[in-house]
Symmetry: C2
């Protein structure tokens, strides 16, 4: 009856039907939304990859910064990125939403549209979820499922002393975008930083290329910043490493804007987080093969350091001194 | 240093390590907690079953009612129940937590212990998750994964006119427990209702027995009340049904306490929800086989109605009139 219906008038099952109607049948989906559990069929010979992420309003995102469409996209992108980091093929996802009572249906429709567009771009099918009312802000929980043949799966545990440390794309743009938003500097020309923050692109294809190449010894996605995330590889591989500050891939836009800073903001590139690029390690003997592979993939990758047998991660400054970052990473508590 | 550490002093990774250390290796787990994604191997020939549930403080639970140990148990039990409702074998789970800044470590440890005890009782392995700070109350999101051979999976869509409608166990005890808590009537002798509400038992074994029997045409778990949940079977099977009020399985304790009510509280058994029993349909020709099967399983099951070809679900009163329930179910918005 209402010309501008809200979620209360639509009801829980009405909202689920709306989402369900917007989903498309996908590969391996036997039973999607609508039963007690979804039923899917893995490709024979493959193992299952699963990961989950929780995003809370005013902790992970602010509705004043994040438009609902891009929030929907990012909610799934950060999970797809975890499958990419294993070299996996993303397949299916589950979406749970705790929705504030006063949420506008238009907001939730835009969110859903963004989520499903991101899903379609990466051949991911939404197969289930949960919806409920939230007393305090929007609550988003996403589970992603992917698959890969066992010998192609790349873990954090395989880095070897002497391996080169690589990263895809450029670092620090998203962290700079966050700083610009925090400082209210939403000028023209800053769009690419804001986009890197609000609408990251998971490196699914590159992750699979690297997995299929058999050249990569360990991999992780950079969500907390290269320093912290390579730190996870180092710890879990029982090694250490040295990152070379001068080698970090920095976008030309980042370099240009940084001229206004008293010090070059390396810490944004090292520890800012939310890059959703891939960091990986490989034998230096495979440097040329990887360079050629990445050229074909259309995504840049840059060697930024060397794995060492000594534990701990150090950062070498251009003048030969050791860099001490202002913060060692991000502690969610 | 602190004798009573809180989560802030432990940190996110410290808390995850604590949980990780308490988990045990499980069947099919190739890589558990600690990488970008978990890796698991399905049993060859089986399909994957997945479901997810979100539980929010002061929406789904109150910390003044739910002690952390039983809250942990229930958080997983409601998801395991979804696998049981498909006739599936629960295998692996993911746990995401949004934790208030002032949450005591002891509370979260008790929660985790309850969660992992429930997991162990149903041979479920915790293989991953996410933790973050919550600005407003505890946020819990659980994803469950299970498996079953394709022809054994039981959906909501298979009910046929003439089938009998069955339910396991007794109905209404949990809803009565909720009413007692709401009215502050926490007397001795009410424990079993409170237990049904706070510590439900998913019907995993019964669900698998029924799946393996090949006798069941549709199945669902009763979370929103039999009336609403059988309504889902009816709608998704393109049928209707008549429930017989006098046939509903009511515990003797429920019957005894109901003497204090002016009307017998059938609505608690029909629409109260949170029973986590199974409702299923089967040909009346299989009545004896199912009775015998259930006897062997140690769980009661009761025929409570008949599937009809006409759409809609009606409820027959003992005097032959039609029952009009006070509420048609629970709308989460």
């Amino acid at each position: 009856m209402a010309s501008n219906p809200n979620l209360s008038s639509l009801g829980e099952f009405g909202f689920i039907s709306r989402i369900s109607a917007a989903t498309r049948p996908g590969a391996g989906v036997v039973t999607g939304i609508g039963d007690d559990a979804a039923v899917t069929a893995l490709t024979p010979g493959m193992q299952l990859l699963t990961s989950t992420d929780m995003l809370l309003e005013n902790v992970h995102f602010r509705c004043s910064w994040h438009d609902p469409y891009r929030l929907g996209r990012k909610s799934l992108a950060v999970s797809i990125s975890d499958i990419a980091a294993m070299g996996g093929i993303p397949r299916w996802c589950l979406l749970s939403l705790g929705i504030p009572k006063d949420a506008a249906l238009g907001f939730m429709d835009d969110f859903t549209r963004g989520f499903l567009d991101m899903a379609a771009e990466h051949n991911v099918s939404l197969i289930g979820g949960d919806t409920c009312r939230s007393g305090n802000g929007l609550v988003i929980s996403v589970t992603i499922m992917g698959e890969q043949v066992p010998k192609r799966i790349i873990r954090r545990t395989g880095a070897r002393p002497g391996d080169e440390i690589w990263v895809t794309g450029t670092l620090g743009d998203a962290a700079l975008g966050l700083r610009l938003l925090e400082e209210g500097k939403l000028k023209d020309g800053f769009g690419q930083f804001i986009t890197r923050l609000l609408d990251p692109t998971p490196r699914t294809e590159v992750g699979q290329f690297l997995a299929e190449s058999g050249l990569v010894t360990s991999m992780i996605d950079i969500s907390d910043g290269l320093l912290a995330d390579f730190g996870h590889i180092a710890e879990q591989s029982g090694v250490g490493g040295q990152l070379n500050l001068a080698a970090l891939p920095i976008s030309s836009a980042f370099r240009a804007i940084s001229e206004g800073f008293s010090q070059f903001p390396y810490h944004l590139a090292l520890s800012g987080g939310e890059d959703y690029e891939l960091a990986f390690t490989a034998s230096p003997n495979n440097n040329e093969k990887i360079t050629s592979l990445m050229k074909n993939s259309g995504i840049d990758a840059t060697p930024v350091g060397i794995v060492s047998s000594l534990p701990g991660v150090t950062v070498l400054c251009p003048d030969g001194s050791s860099y001490i970052p202002p913060t060692p990473g991000f502690n969610h508590f």
